[in-house]
């Protein structure tokens, strides 16, 4: 006779250490989501009074909150757009230089040099923009207005200090350059070598190889890199606050002393002296900025992630 012993299924012993540790990591991870939610929630709560503020509460002659924030939002988008127009072609060029033109041994060092630009604090960029770049560009602006003043963008009268929206955009372009370059470089390096070798073997020149194999492969990467750069340019504060002499209005001319300012710069300049509803109004403009950058970043990440799914690149 054999006795059949009923056996429990084997289970790993539950250790206290395991449970504590895994719970801690889950809590930490969830905390990040909570912080992001808290940022939105607290900003929203604190900015509620701004939406019902009376015209007397606003600096300048805005009738309500939306009239107050519109020129600022315009300036934010306008300066960021100009910065990207300058930065994207340059960044693609630099990324191509590092990934496909520079000697292999030098490439990593060159990439590190460009990354150094990202390490410079924004307040130093502000000092540099106003102390070096603006005086340097002013004579150039004068001749630009002289020769091309008939184009509305370059309409006069020219600013005497060089502290214009174009100077700001150049500083912003320098600041977002390393971000866009770094991502483009990674993407270009991930082009399948077989594609490149195939087009070279068919007799393509180096540029034709890049145009046929590298750029099409990296297109979505370039788009998302630009959007991340856009997010950075939208939120940049100190460089704009220091370089620009602001007058919140919707104006497209690039070289005059009348310049639109950005949301972030407006907050930085006015926050130390603000009180009462003024604080709430500035917080509300911050909320608008938060929503804009959040949307831009989310779209960029979705594009990157979608691409990741089928190419193995990130």
């Amino acid at each position: 006779m054999t006795t059949i012993v009923a056996r429990d299924t084997i289970r790993a012993p539950q250790r206290a250490g395991d449970r504590i540790f895994s719970t801690a990591t889950v809590v930490a991870g969830s905390l990040i989501l909570a912080v992001l939610a808290a940022v939105a929630a607290f900003l929203l709560v604190q900015s509620l009074p701004a939406f019902v503020a009376t015209p007397a509460d606003f600096k300048g002659d805005a009738a309500n909150f939306w009239a107050y924030v519109w020129p600022l939002a315009f300036g934010t988008l306008w300066s960021a757009l100009l910065a990207l127009l300058i930065a994207i072609p340059l960044a693609i060029g630099i990324a191509l230089f590092i990934s496909h033109y520079a000697p292999r041994k030098l490439a990593q060092g060159l990439g590190y040099i460009i990354d150094l630009l990202a390490a410079v604090p924004s307040v130093v960029f502000g000092l540099w923009g106003i102390g070096v770049l603006a005086p340097l560009l002013q004579p150039f602006y004068t001749s630009l207005v002289e020769w091309f003043g008939w184009i509305p963008l370059f309409a006069g009268p020219v600013s005497g200090t060089g502290r214009t929206i174009l100077t700001v955009s150049i500083v912003l372009a320098v600041m977002v350059l390393p971000i866009i370059t770094a991502i483009c470089r990674e993407i270009f390096l991930q082009t399948p070598v077989l594609y490149e070798e195939a087009s070279l073997a068919l007799g393509a020149t180096r540029w034709e190889m890049i145009a046929m194999a590298v750029l099409p492969f990296g297109r979505s990467g370039i788009i998302s890199a630009s959007m991340l750069g856009l997010g950075r340019a939208l939120g940049e504060t100190m460089a704009v606050a220091m370089v620009l002499s602001p007058s919140p209005q919707v104006i497209f001319a690039l070289l005059t002393s009348q310049n639109p300012t950005t949301i972030a710069a407006n907050i930085a300049l006015n926050f130390p002296e603000a009180h009462g509803t003024g604080v709430n109004i500035l917080l509300a403009t911050g909320l608008v900025l938060f929503v804009i950058t959040l949307a831009v970043n989310m779209v960029a990440r979705v594009i990157i992630n979608r691409r990741k799914a089928f190419s193995g690149a990130n």
Binding site: S22, A24, G29, F42, L90, P121, R206, M242, G276, L294
Partner: protein, 362 residues
Amino acid sequence: MSTTTVAVPLTNSLTAGKLPRHSGPVVLLVSWLVTAAVFLIVQLSGASTSFNVAGTLFFGTVLYCIAIYLLSFFVEGVRKAKDRLVTALVTAAFVIALLPLISLVATTVISGLPAFLTPTFFTSSQRNVVGPGGGALHAVIGTLLITGLATLISVPIGLLSAIYLTEYGRGRLARAITFFVDVMTGIPSIVAGLFAFALFSLLFNDPGIRFGFGGAIALSVLMIPVVVRSSEEMLKLVPNELREAAYALGVPKWLTILKVVLPTSLAGIVTGIMISISRVIGETAPLLIISGFTASMNYDLFNERMMTLPVFVYTQYANQGTDTQAYLDRAWAGALTLILIVMVLNALARLIAKLFSPKLGR
């Protein structure tokens, strides 16, 4: 009858002429010389007072692009010409990007050194200082305290989250965290400052609240996603064989992570943390909003305004007194200190990564 054969010169449509080997650099040199000559004539004619070096280099390079394109077009054909043009443009893009970096570092060093070398710069604060003199000790202390506290807050949270994402995370929560960490890296720094302000002014019911702890919270919001991202990358590099070997020996999962996974990736994690510190140590906007500015020493993170280096640079520049030069000098000296700190942190991080990273494979 005999036919005479006439030798037809052989033409091969597949081959084309080729420019001599070093024609690129030579053409570049020639175009610089030509533009230099033009500018020299302009100067000698009295139209301008000094020799325009920047103009020479710029227009010389433009001339080079045109010359090499045309030369190559007539000798080598349109495809090769385009290739040479793009090579010139791409190289120019890289050089253009170097110019601001060189100019910025040079200006900061030259303008910053006079005040930086003043004996009082690192030994006194700005209290009761009008005009020249004084120092940035209060700002250096504030920066160290606030950044230190931000690091203390961010590193455990960031590291644990990274461990969750690599070791435990499955499913929707992990995907949401990964996505929103990426999104959070793009939060404007000023919004982080506004968040800290909104939070603490509600908590303490003080509409004008300014203190160092709030600054540390704001910096943590900016720092956590960077720590998570870099630590996650490093933890992913740890080979699975190491984990499996530990499990096979009966080591619990949490001990495996603590004793096997973390030590293996420690160098990379430390590097990431140092880079993230160098990212937030230069943040101005959030500290301007929640930590405020002062001219006096303050060692208490939970009380009163606290000065930090970036804000010091900004206020010295923004509120220039009657002796403008003294304030500007101090601003540049502060900027020089900041850049030095950031560069040292970056260099140390690279060094650690190079010296201590585990040799994977082979």
